[in-house]
Structures are given as structure tokens and as C-alpha cells.
Symmetry: C2
Subunit: 156 residues, 2 copies
């Protein structure tokens, strides 16, 4: 298992996602708890909707993306979490049976001025399906501790 | 049950959220599936983190917000879903036992030029805890069908 620190997050660096298949059962279980709209609960209702089939809630796709980020680089890293997301786009339906993958890439990385032991990393995640179509995009901040607190490198 | 159409979404209109308590069991179940970082799985690890206790994944708070939006106005409405989120901020930790509430408010609403039977509504949701502190903010688009397709009102 890799153990990443702030220093590993150089602009352009990519982390690949493991593939995950969205089962009908998982789509329905998430929807029952968090987003019980008919097209997320029922195949016929999904087919009758603009989504074209039993479709995952956008928030389900986002949660699965979170799991893929965890497996790609967060697990064992010095991550201190995220204050939020600048952008979350659900670009195409995610239907039962779709297999998701994709990657995230570092957009920028700088050391916090107020907390010089912490780096502020901005990343862009792209979630794709089995046809390599982008189904979701997210740009977000990840706070990461430095491996060693260097002096004189504060940029913010 | 209210049944809202695009015409109901006038700027400034608010929809209140039902209150929901975040149990330790629900926080841990979500984290096991989607975000298995120690502070989301274990009380002691949470207390040792900057979050100060067993803390919900930000994506869990967002999913619960989705459920509150569903109950507040989406259920039975002419919603056609969302292309995404402009902003999702997790402003304060959500800890086991916290009771969430809040509201969403309409920021703007206009009829689609390319699909005049559809309105584009931008909303801002604020999720609060039992101390009325804002724990999460989300600004997002909701597409809503018009009750009747009017002519000559396309603004986009």
C-alpha cells in the first residue's frame, strides 16, 4: 500500500481508479436511503425517464468516486480531509450493470501559509464507464500533511 | 404531499428540511462502503483527528442532504434531475448524535431556451446542526418541468 504525503502531489500526476460495477441491488439500496426517486428504484420507471434505465443517484456515483479516491491514494496517506468541492458534474446516466473506472489528477498544490505543516492540493477526478465515456467530474481540495515541515516554503 | 412544478420556484422561496439524527451506526455503515477512513469508522480515531469525534464522511452528509431535499420538495414534483453541483462545502464536522436540519432557497429560475417545457432552477441548500451552525452548503441546479408549456417565455 502506498503512503502518500503532500510532496507526492505534483501538478499533472495521475492516480488510476480500480474498476467497480454498479449493481441494481446497490443502486436501489442507496436510493431507498438517500434518494428514493422512481428512476433510482425501479427498472421500468428508469426506462420511462430521460435516464433510460435503472439509474444510480448522482450522489451514489459521487460516493463510489469517494471510494475509488480512497483506494487510489487516500488510504494510508497523510490526508486531513477536504473542506469541499468546487464542481461536481453528473454528465451521463450511470445504469445498473455499468462498470466505473477513471482517474484523478493533481491540478495544483501549495503549502498553507497559516498552517505550514499542511499542503492544499486541488484535484480533478473523472469517472468513466465501460465505454470510456466520462459520467462524472469532480474538482475538489484535499488537505495533506507534509512529510517533514519545511521552513520558508509557505505560498499562501 | 406537495406537488411542485417549475412555476413554484420563485427566487427567495424557501423549503425547510425535516430534522434527521446522524447515528454512529449510520456513519459507520456509510463509511465502510464509501469512505473507510479511521475518523469515519471509529470513535477513538475520530477523537484523535481534527474532527473531534466519530465524524460522518462529507459525502454522507451530502447524501443525507439529498434525502432532505427529496422530502422538502422533490417528492411528487416535476423534477427532471440535476446536471450537477456548483459548490459543495463541508464547513464543520458532523459527529455521531448530531441532529441535522436546515433549508434550501431558490437563487434563480429561468425557462430553458432549447427545451421550453423545462425550467432551470438554481438553489442553495444549507444544512445545520442542533446548535444552528451551518455544517454544509450546496449550490446546485434542478431541472423542473413546467406545469403548462408557455410560449414566449424562453430566457436562455
Amino acid at each position: 500500500m502506498a503512503s502518500y504525503t503532500f510532496e507526492d502531489f505534483t501538478p499533472g500526476r495521475r492516480f488510476e481508479f480500480e474498476k467497480r460495477t454498479m449493481t441494481a441491488d446497490a443502486i436501489i439500496a442507496f436510493a431507498r436511503e438517500f434518494d428514493p426517486q422512481p428512476m433510482h428504484l425501479d427498472e421500468a420507471a428508469g426506462r420511462a425517464s430521460i435516464l433510460g434505465g435503472l439509474a444510480a443517484s448522482g450522489w451514489h456515483t459521487s460516493a463510489v468516486m469517494m471510494r475509488m479516491l480512497y483506494e487510489a491514494y487516500i488510504n494510508g496517506s497523510t490526508s486531513e480531509g477536504s473542506p469541499g468541492v468546487d464542481l461536481m458534474e453528473w454528465k451521463r446516466p450511470v445504469l445498473a450493470g455499468d462498470t466505473l473506472g477513471g482517474h484523478c489528477a493533481v491540478l495544483e498544490a501549495r503549502v498553507s501559509r497559516s498552517r505550514p505543516e499542511i499542503g492544499i492540493v486541488r484535484l480533478r477526478a473523472e469517472v468513466t464507464n465501460q465505454r470510456d465515456e466520462v459520467v462524472a467530474v469532480c474538482e475538489y481540495i484535499n488537505m495533506m500533511r507534509l512529510a517533514a515541515t519545511g521552513a520558508g516554503h509557505a505560498h499562501d
